[in-house]
């Protein structure tokens, strides 16, 4: 085997890119601990601040209903994830195992839903939600979120279920297990990695969603984090200190999640998009 070792030049080159990727984070982090007077003007370009302060962080939680936004996002994203994955796991199992006419067409239509611009459905969905009095409620967001998260989840889970050998079910049947028992005791435990990956992706998508959140939940009480962050900008001033602090607060959990589950997220995303 010819093992090519990377030279120091490679590392240097890579580090340049790493710098480009990290710079926005570092800059925002720095901005969030700078005193307001150093955000603009002479000291705006300083690498360091001699007076680090947590004022912006305090202000985000005290002067803005940021905690409320975080809570709203958590509730909506969690319920969406649990419901979507629960339904999708059943549907995907059925699609993976049952043979029926037009299966590939249905799968194609399913995947198309997740790729079409959601904006093409925003006005009817808004009307729908409004008719049922669900604007400014958690349910008003959970309904459209699950609608759009389901197709991709089903698609992902079908690929996972397909990898589970059919013999296992046959064996379970021989041993006298009912289909339900087979599903819950044999199949689902094997599909846990797939279910987990799907859950992460659905959660991130719901947590980050903006268009529906912006349109449907306009009341301060029901805004989610992305809408909250986008709307920090006041009419005349933009409170950059607070915005930076808020950005750091919402970014850190996602960064940790990515560091922990990077492999799963990547495999999930690519299997959803590359043909097998």
């Amino acid at each position: 085997m010819m093992q090519k070792k990377a030279g120091p030049l490679f590392y240097l080159f890579l580090l340049v890119f790493v710098f480009f990727v990290m710079f926005p984070f570092l800059w925002v982090l720095l901005s969030s601990i700078k005193p307001l007077s150093e955000l603009f003007g002479d000291k705006a370009f300083n690498w360091f601040t001699s007076h680090p302060t947590l004022k912006s962080y305090v202000s985000v939680f005290v002067n803005y209903p940021f905690l409320r936004y975080l809570w709203n996002s958590t509730v909506v994203a969690t319920i969406t994830t649990v419901y979507t994955v629960f339904v999708a796991a059943f549907a995907a199992y059925a699609i993976a195992r049952l043979q029926f006419k037009g299966k590939t067409v249905i799968l194609g239509l399913v995947l198309a839903v997740s790729m079409f611009p959601q904006i093409a459905t925003i006005s009817p969905i808004y009307m729908f939600v409004k008719t049922f009095g669900l604007t400014n409620s958690y349910l008003g967001l959970i309904i459209p979120y699950t609608t759009f998260a389901l197709p991709l989840s089903i698609w992902l889970l079908v690929t996972f279920f397909r990898k589970i050998p059919f013999d296992l079910e046959e064996a379970a049947k021989m041993d006298g297990a009912t289909p339900m028992q087979t599903y819950f005791k044999v199949i689902l435990p094997l599909a846990v990695p797939g279910v987990f990956t799907t859950s992460i992706l659905v959660f991130i998508a719901a947590w980050n969603e903006f268009l529906f959140a912006l349109t449907i939940n306009t009341a301060e009480k029901y805004k989610t984090v992305p809408v909250g962050i986008a709307m920090f900008q006041g009419q005349y001033t933009i409170p950059w200190g607070e915005i930076s602090a808020a950005t750091v607060v919402v970014t850190v959990p996602l960064v940790i999640m990515v560091l922990l589950f990077q492999r799963r997220i990547v495999s999930g995303l690519t299997s959803g998009s590359i043909k097998e």
Binding site: V113, F116, I119, F128, V266, I274
Partner: protein, 283 residues
Amino acid sequence: MIFLFVYGFIGWTGYVSLSNWNSLVPDWSFAGVKNYLYLFHDFRFQADLRNTLVFTVLFIAAVIVLGQLLAILLDQKLRGESLFRNIFFFPMALSFVVTGVVWQWLFNPSTGVNLFLKPLGLDGKWYTDTNILFGFHWGKIEFGIPVAIIAVVVAAVWQMTGFAVAMYLAGLRAIPDEVREAARMDGATEFQLYWKIILPLLRPITVSVIIIMAHISLKIFDLIYAMTGPGANFVTDVPGVYMFETTFRGNYYANGAAIAMVMLLSVAIFIVPYLISSRKGGS
């Protein structure tokens, strides 16, 4: 059932786009293609189409080039590869809104990246710049590359490149080592190896990357809404933002629906052939 729901809603939008409903009160009377004609003669919509085209081309090109380059660099059996991969990947998990806000701050004319440019005597106006590069008049608009769009492209590339890297890396790993060794035996230089052998082998992945990035860029909304808005003279406006403002701020439901349908069709041009071909190739 869910899918009937979604396709039903799309049908509804399609119908509204052909109606006269341009006020708060629903008006279902048939208007033909009037709304579409209006759009294609509209200054703002023409600017939107220009911006979308420029944005999509620049964005996809940058993502492909950087994605391949970084994937090849990461594939050199280096130490700490997973750390690098993580770093490149994690902007991907952020929402476009956060990316937009962060880059709005970075590109702020009086701070951020201008840290590096000020000493060079450059004074970046970035997304507030209304100049259009290589501009010429075409229809009602000046066609060319709006400077402000470049700022948005940078932000989008920053966020999405990690995804392309991950896909290319998977592709590189799938190429057996024998291929490389055979090429080296035949006396190919490293550069030739990658340029003539590896990159062509990665072409199917490039197709996937193009499809994925195109459908993201054609329907982009959050990033621009959070970062720049329509911009002066609509230099950074895109159909998504126009649609939202027309429908929910102006109550021109029929016009908004027509914009949405144009977006839908443009995305469909990319993904329908892709889905059909992947169906044939797949199961």
